[in-house]
Symmetry: C2
Subunit: 89 residues, 2 copies
């Protein structure tokens, strides 16, 4: 079975995030107030072929940690998505 999986990679707390800080500084000029703690990260969607949801998630977590993130400065998490990009046949 194919499972739609979403992997989210975020900077660990305490790691400087210039992109997030710049976005936060730009917001008031565009009329958005009350937005704080902006942190930028990456998101990856993919379709994983596996026997069941648990093993799809396990595979996604392994590849997120090995390929998609730098564990020294980033946290990675995987979750089952709501819709497959390539169908879920």
């Amino acid at each position: 079975m194919n499972f739609p999986v979403i992997v989210t990679v975020t900077l660990r707390e305490g790691i400087a995030d210039p992109e997030g800080a710049t976005i936060e500084r730009a917001l008031p000029a565009l009329g958005f107030t009350g937005v704080t703690h902006v942190r930028a990260g990456k998101s990856f969607r993919m379709t994983i072929e596996a026997a069941d949801e648990a093993s799809a998630l396990e595979k996604a977590t392994a590849l997120a940690e090995r390929l998609l993130s730098n564990p020294v400065i980033e946290d990675a998490s995987a979750s089952i998505g709501t819709s497959a990009i390539g169908g879920s046949a």
Copy 2:
């Protein structure tokens, strides 16, 4: 009230995604098979001060479309996160 919000920006279907394609090509060499349709995107976490969840989401959607994404090639979606980065007091 402060709400943790996650904004996800993904490339629209049909838009070329060299980053996702490169990741997909690298996976078999690392021992990951059965992973297809890899699409790279961005994810932003933030804390939004609003009267209720609905208006926090509305504000997040507006800023996602105006500041965080390019609507010509990208889709943006906002959702309430599970944990605030800066607390939810």
